[in-house]
């Protein structure tokens, strides 16, 4: 028994060491990349992209399911984006509330015909509406397909631009977000197949006329912790991974893709739990199998502000769903692991996701169980345990503070000293008990997936209207 516990402890130690090294490398790469990106931006003028006759048209796809509280603000925001050739398609995915009626009132919708060819699978379309006020807005009214993916597919069928930008209809894009997300495309349109922007937490901030007026931190502590999580995930994780062309996720709240490519792989997978992750994984597979050079990039300056769960129950559901989504994508793509044709995706990115993302809550739980078992058997070295705990705490805090520093030296969205002080404080506080709760939610997600429970449970949201009213 002692030998088993000893071996387990050693294995866990190595696991944490490797995991931390990966985080550290990603942090360093991200800091370096960000600095380079800032320099690169100095030689770009977004206005020039806006003025160029060759700037490719974009269709923004915004699926909406029961979004009556957000839809007016969200669509107004999309129509006010700076971009020379824009089409906005809102897909009303069988909403049972006043989503369609709200849009009809606000944008003076009138029924129209559209050239709609069902190239990718989606539920039955009931009708099309175009705004009499702004003809760039097309609303696709369809039967509920049971997933965001199904709604996006309907929009994809109606899209007429060479690029589609998928956004959430409870999010707000910064005015120049599309121009910024197109920078990599404008530099190398032949190779850039998809670009992800950064998602930031909207809770606590104020919106005016569809645009963000004041950026503030939310009040609730677990909302602030989510701010840190998002900074860490985007400014360090995605920035770092994208540098090696190993970006495995472009957030469903804000991502740009080449339309022909998305259609070529059959659109979004309707049954996917994490349709955004699934899309990028399938793109990598498709492009690797096809051969040739390609890039899936991340740019940290086009910002999408989104509302995050503001109650524990919703947060738990969201995190469980993300974990289910992870497994739901990794399992069907297990054949990509360690096969040379999939290059670094199969040999680095996917194994990392399996070991350090999917199995992380199981391994964490295993660690807790062995510690309890060792303590019960009187085999626990208290000194070692506390040292290890202290090390883990200090290291994880370092990564979080690193993300705040990254934000501070580059994008500086939180201008108030108090907000920065709060963010730094929460870097120290997020580990207990939030992290343990997070582990439980992720385990719950895996358990639900194993039981075959893949139903989508709605999250409670305040809606953009409340941010508007604040």
């Amino acid at each position: 028994m002692g030998l088993v516990l000893d071996a387990t402890n050693h294995a866990l130690f190595v696991y944490y060491l490797v995991c931390n090294m990966v985080y550290l490398v990603t942090l360093i790469v991200a800091l370096k990349t960000s600095a380079a990106h800032q320099r690169r931006l100095e030689s770009w003028r977004l206005k020039w992209i806006n003025q160029s006759p060759l700037t490719p048209p974009i269709t923004v796809l915004a699926p909406a399911h029961n979004e009556e509280t957000s839809i007016r603000v969200a669509v107004r925001n999309l129509l006010q984006l700076d971009y020379p050739d824009l089409e906005v398609i809102v897909i009303n995915d069988g909403s049972k509330d006043r989503t369609l009626a709200e849009m009809q009132d606000e944008f003076k919708l009138r029924p129209v015909r559209a050239v709609y060819v069902q190239e990718v699978e989606s539920a039955q379309v009931r009708g099309f509406y175009r705004s009499a006020e702004d003809p760039r807005l097309l609303v696709v009214d369809k039967e509920a397909g049971g997933s965001k993916a199904d709604a996006v597919n309907a929009g994809l069928n109606a899209a007429t631009s060479p690029y589609v930008c998928v956004v959430d209809s409870d999010s707000v894009l910064e005015r120049d977000a599309l121009l910024r997300i197109m920078v990599p495309v404008m530099v190398d349109p032949d190779h850039v197949m998809g670009v992800g922007g950064i998602i930031r937490v909207l809770n606590g901030s104020e919106i005016e006329n569809g645009h963000l007026k004041h950026v503030k931190l939310p009040r609730k502590s677990f909302e602030i912790i989510q701010v840190i999580e998002y900074l860490r995930a985007f400014l360090i994780g995605r920035e770092g991974w994208a540098q090696g062309n190993m970006l495995m996720i472009i957030s469903g709240a804000f991502g740009l893709f080449r339309t022909d490519l998305v259609r070529a792989i059959g659109g979004y997978r309707s049954k996917a739990i994490g349709e955004d992750f699934d899309m990028v994984a399938r793109l990598h597979r498709h492009l690797r199998e096809k051969g040739g050079e390609y890039k899936i990039q991340f740019v940290p300056d086009p910002v999408c502000w989104t509302e995050v769960p503001s109650d524990m129950r919703s947060l738990a559901r969201q995190r469980a769903r993300w974990q289910k989504g992870l497994l739901d994508v990794l399992w069907p793509n297990r054949d990509m692991l360690f096969r040379p044709r999939y290059g670094r995706i199969g040999s680095i990115a996917l194994p990392y996701l399996w070991v350090f993302e999917l199995f992380a809550p199981i391994i964490e739980l295993g660690g807790i169980v062995t510690i309890i078992a060792a303590a019960w058997l009187g085999m626990l070295s208290q000194h070692f345990f506390f040292e290890f705990l202290l090390y883990g705490y200090a290291f994880a805090t370092m990564i979080s503070i690193g993300s705040v520093l990254q934000e501070e030296i580059t994008y500086k969205r939180y201008n108030d000293w108090k907000d920065v002080a709060k963010l730094v404080s929460y870097c120290f506080l997020e580990h207990f008990p939030y992290r343990q709760l997070h582990m439980m939610w992720r385990l719950q997600g895996l358990y639900q997936y194993a039981r075959g429970d893949v139903t989508w449970r709605p999250l409670k949201r305040q809606g953009l209207q409340s941010a508007q009213a604040r």
């Binding site: 380079a36 320099r39 690169r40 100095e42 030689s43 770009w44 003028r45 206005k47 020039w48 160029s52 006759p53 060759l54 009138r110 029924p111 129209v112 015909r113 559209a114 050239v115 060819v117 175009r130 009499a132 003809p135 007429t160 404008m186 530099v187 190398d188 349109p189 032949d190 190779h191 070295s381 000194h383 070692f384 506390f386 040292e387 290890f388 202290l390 090390y391 200090a394 290291f395 805090t397 370092m398 503070i401 690193g402 705040v404 520093l405 501070e408 030296i409 500086k412 000293w417 920065v420 730094v424």
Partner: protein, 404 residues
Amino acid sequence: MGSIFDKLLKFGPSVLVVKAIIAAIAADFALVAAILVRRAYRTRYFHKRDERVFWMRQNWDDLISGKIPYETWRTKPFDRAIVEEIVLDAFEAAGPQESARLLAFLRQSGLIEKRVFEARNMRGWRRRRALVALGRTRAAEGVPALADGLRDKNQENRHAALRGLGRMGSPEAGTEILDWIAEVGLVVASLPVQNALINCCRERPQILIPYLQHSGGEVREVLARVMAEVATPSLESDLIGLSEDELPELRAAAARAMSSAQPYHAVDVLAELSKDKVWFVRLRAVVAMGKLHNELATPHILQGLCDSNRLVRMRAGEALVAQPGKMAPVFAQVAAMQDRYGLHAYLAALENAGARAKLEEELAHEKSLKKIEREELQQVLQSGKLPDPKPAGDAEETVEPVAR
């Protein structure tokens, strides 16, 4: 006195872990300190910057005219950066007179010389920044330095030089880019090259012709696309030549460019191109015919409505709706074609343009149609479905041709 590690070792078995803890805690504090220092620096920097910008704005005319000696700010990098930024921003919005005044100031103050020097001698992002700034000045003496930048080993610097030359927007800058691609081929993506060339060749598109004639492959396609954007009626004969080229990209470019030619000549060429075997050539031809806004093109656009490609049908529908003249006879012809995809494309374009009410109104008063035909067309417009086909010739008797 033992080291701190010796003391800590008394509390635990692992030297490695203790060292890791110390390192991690030190890193935590270092990062927090970096955030605080950065914040404090930024606050001070922006405060100082605001003050200087305010002072410079107040004394702007004296600065520009040289009443305040250039040396007072030129030797201070902080002030120089502010002055240059204000001038370059002003350039973007300035008229010809103001531009000339600003350019004279840039020359007299030596700012251009400084940027030329940086563009030639600096490396990395400093060179990039200088190249773009030089382009924004639109000073002719910057062209050689920018042309040098095109031959930089670093791809990003080459892009910056391209953007700079594109910003210059002069035929001289265009010639430098053309010489460069003739010399080395396409060593950057085509889109930035096209963007720069479009800006540079707008004034004198003729400079493209010799390069277009002597280049091949992808370079030729790129030049043709540029030609499509900048062509003027004076290039009509060259465009007709291009429309018969074996490369579909060139035929498509010719089609696009023909929208700026005289309708009498353009329609015939575009009508031919609208029957091309490559879909995007047909698409360009249909769109170009729509842009001509001439009734001569209507019968050919109608053919586009029956195209096998969805995009061609959509654009044909849009072009027909935007055509001048009456809509009812056109709609009658659309219905007479008995192509449900074509009808759908036309109706979609009609509704998207908000022109349905206008057509309904026209149909109600169209004298060239018999009552029964009018009702039938109204029915088609309401239902979006085609009537049963009639014996040949019947439709021709009732539908007035739109154009011959």
